[in-house]
């Protein structure tokens, strides 16, 4: 890049030139020219009390351990809600944008492999930052919004760790990516979905979205970890997709935090009402390997990052869970057909969404979450 970006508008105009060039290069030759990359954005959730306006706080927050060293970025404030973040060690330049009080985004044209590594390090090393975890149904919904044109999907799951089944009799893991256009791709998606019912978990979706006229469009991939990758002619559409996903996600978080956190509300001196209710995770089939599930899910490792203190009960297990990521607690009852999650008043809704999304990727896709009245939450 041979000029300095001095505003958010500048940055996105530059991005637009790049993604437009990338689109036509890909269209013509099916490959990108050297150092021409697609626009990648990540939405991340931050703890509410982290102030992104202070350079020192931001510099600490965006540092990470890599190969035994602490990697710090250099920062340049461009606008109140827009920073340039440069990692000299990895030669990666990203732009941080505050989306609202709870979410921020990174936008970058740098190489995917390096950017993915940075984001993964930041999320795993800082408890103040979490990814956006897009569950199967959420991604599926993205394909059909705003008359988008369906361009592909990827299924990605691995049930071996929890089920312990590595025999050739069942499909225990799968990675599949299909890009294409036309009605057949939609049919193929539906057929595969049906055929691999309860196994095919969406890891990525691809669609084309148009603006006011057919010349304005973007071709966008959304990955389940909250990564958006676009090329096309109109960068504003990329931003619109980002903001729409953020809004829908934030609504789900708000619902979880408002309706399903249990708290004793005290009015006056002793008048108490228990607000909220537990969440019921219903398995589509009986789980006979609860002990292995507990060992894999509650040992503190990525991606669940949950540490469980487990007690056997008359019909199942009672588990006190500490979320290593954000340092919150919740309790859980586990039975072969059901899991009941009791969220305390200070838990972050993202803990639940991360838990649910990762269950889909490691245990079963069709786990349904309902409230006490049977109303579907996921």
């Amino acid at each position: 890049m041979d000029f300095e970006i001095s505003s958010k508008k500048d940055a996105f105009e530059f991005f637009e030139r790049q993604i437009s060039r990338a689109y036509y290069k890909l269209y013509e030759s099916q490959k990108l020219e050297f150092e021409s990359y697609l626009l990648k954005s990540f939405i991340l959730e931050k703890e509410l009390d982290v102030n992104l306006d202070e350079a020192d706080v931001l510099r600490q927050l965006l540092s990470f351990e890599f190969k035994g060293e602490t990697v710090f970025p250099t920062l340049r404030k461009i606008e109140d809600d827009f920073w340039e973040v440069f990692y000299p060690v990895l030669s990666v330049r990203m732009y941080l944008e505050k989306l609202d009080g709870r979410f921020f985004a990174f936008h970058t044209l740098s190489e995917s492999k390096k950017v993915d590594l940075i984001v993964q390090k930041l999320v795993s090393q800082h408890h103040q930052i979490d990814a956006m975890w897009l569950w199967h149904q959420f991604l599926d919904r993205q394909l059909w919004l705003n008359q988008r044109s369906f361009k592909g999907f990827s299924f990605d799951y691995d049930f071996r760790k929890i089920s312990g089944d590595e025999s050739d009799q069942t499909l225990s893991y799968l990675k599949m990516q299909i890009w294409g256009g036309g009605h057949e791709i939609v049919e193929l998606y539906k057929k595969l979905r049906n055929m691999l019912r309860n196994k095919a978990t969406l890891a990525k979706v691809r669609f084309k979205e148009f603006g006011d006229n057919p010349e304005h469009f973007v071709l966008t991939d959304i990955k389940f970890l909250g990564k958006f990758r676009s090329h096309g002619t109109d960068v504003r559409l990329h931003r619109k997709i980002l903001f729409d996903v953020k809004t829908a996600y934030a609504q789900k978080l708000a619902t979880i935090e408002k309706k399903y956190r249990l708290s004793w509300q005290i009015d006056g001196q002793r008048e108490a009402v228990l607000e909220g209710e537990p969440l019921y995770f219903k398995f589509s089939k009986r789980i006979d390997y609860l002990d292995r599930l507990i060992e894999v899910v509650f040992n503190g490792s990525y991606p669940f990052r949950l540490l469980g203190f487990v007690r056997e009960t008359n019909h199942g297990y009672f588990i006190r869970v500490v979320d290593l990521h954000v340092g919150s607690r919740f309790n859980l009852e586990l039975y072969p057909d059901l899991m009941v999650v009791y969220l305390p008043e200070d838990v972050c809704g993202n803990t639940v969404i991360r838990f649910y999304t990762n269950l889909q990727h490691t245990m079963e896709t069709e786990v349904v979450v309902e409230d006490a009245q049977g109303e579907k939450v996921f």
Binding site: E65, H127, L262, S263, W264, Q265, I266, G268, Q269, R270, E271, A272, V273, L274, E277, P278, Y280, N299, G300, S301, L307, F309, V310, R311, E312, T313, H315, F318, R320, V321, V322, L324, G327, S328, R329, N331, L332, E333, Y335, L338, V340, Y342, P344, E345, E370, A372, Q373, G374
Partner: protein
């Protein structure tokens, strides 16, 4: 892994909260739905009430605006003693006005008041005879513990006829909810659930705080129980829980394997300082998980937990 030894009191607390709020664990569901339709909600746990014969602490108070009724619940797993007899007589004199004064219920909620006594099946005949002889209005329910989750009305009627229908034939469940109230036996601190709660709370605190930060017993207990639930408890009960938690934290602190995580720096009030560095926190906590679980198992597995207290 040790089996969770839920206390009689904790089971009943969760059952009644679950009946009021509704819970999918109750199988079958029909009796729960009927109870829920009556509109009862929990209005207090361990509610102290001063009556003619002295002070009585109700295990739970529930009330419904919809049917204009309050339920004052006493549960006990002990046999009928002179102390219990005295307590039952004190319950008799609890009025709607007392509940408005001490449990902050409304006039509508206290149009009628039922006293509900829940006892173990094996002591039912003694309690029933005493209630009958003394013409006490208490509704007597039998609880089958610990074999199965079953409540059955044995003597006297509820004012609200629908409650009689619900409890006339036994209310029996395959499963009950376990997470509405903290797993602490409010009548006996010396049980396993409390140790598990302390261990999990300590891990949470270590994650949230940095090296050198200080925490005291009072804030530890309030966070562990959740501030709202803590407020529901009487001063005596809070003190009792704090004392037990203090003992457990002292025990943890004595163990050489946990000396690197925190140290005691004050006694009045008890205070501790966190020793874990931010950079090593996650690794150390993950490594300590097994040791902490073992500690909880050891304490819970002792022939008498009372050795701790």
């Amino acid at each position: 892994m040790l089996k969770e030894k839920r206390s009689f009191e904790n089971e009943l607390l969760n059952i009644f909260i679950g009946l009021c709020k509704g819970s999918r664990q109750f199988v079958p569901q029909d009796k729960v739905s009927k109870f829920q339709k009556l509109g009862f909600s929990v209005r207090g746990v361990e509610v102290p009430i001063i009556v003619k014969g002295g002070r009585v602490t109700a295990d739970m108070v529930m009330a419904s605006k919809r049917v204009g009724n309050a339920l004052v619940v006493e549960w006990t797993k002990s046999q009928l003693t002179e102390r219990k007899k005295h307590q039952l007589r004190k319950y008799e004199s609890i009025t709607g006005q007392d509940l408005r004064a001490y449990a902050f219920l409304t006039i509508r909620e206290t149009e009628s008041v039922d006293k509900l006594v829940v006892v173990l099946q094996k002591f039912v005949s003694d309690y029933e005879a005493y209630i009958r002889q003394n013409k006490l209005p208490h509704v007597l329910l039998a609880y089958f513990y610990p074999e199965r989750y079953r409540l059955e009305r044995k003597f006297n009627n509820f004012v609200v006829s629908e409650l009689n229908e619900i409890f006339d034939t036994a209310v029996e469940f395959d499963r009950i909810p376990m997470g509405f109230a903290p797993d602490i036996d409010l009548s006996n601190m010396a049980q396993s659930g409390l140790v598990d709660e302390v261990v999990a709370e300590l891990v949470q605190l270590l994650l949230r705080r940095d090296e050198g930060e200080i925490f005291d017993l009072d804030e530890f207990v309030q966070n562990m129980l959740s501030k709202g639930f803590y407020k529901l408890l009487s001063e005596d009960k809070r003190r009792e829980i704090s004392k037990a938690v203090h003992q457990i934290l002292k025990e943890i602190g004595k163990e050489p394997r946990f000396q690197e995580i925190f140290e005691r720096i004050g006694t009045d009030p008890p205070k501790w300082k966190i020793k874990l560095r931010r950079s090593e926190k996650l690794k150390k906590i993950k490594a300590l998980r097994k040791a902490l679980q073992e500690f909880a198992d050891e304490v819970a597995g002792r022939t008498t937990f009372l050795s701790l207290f």
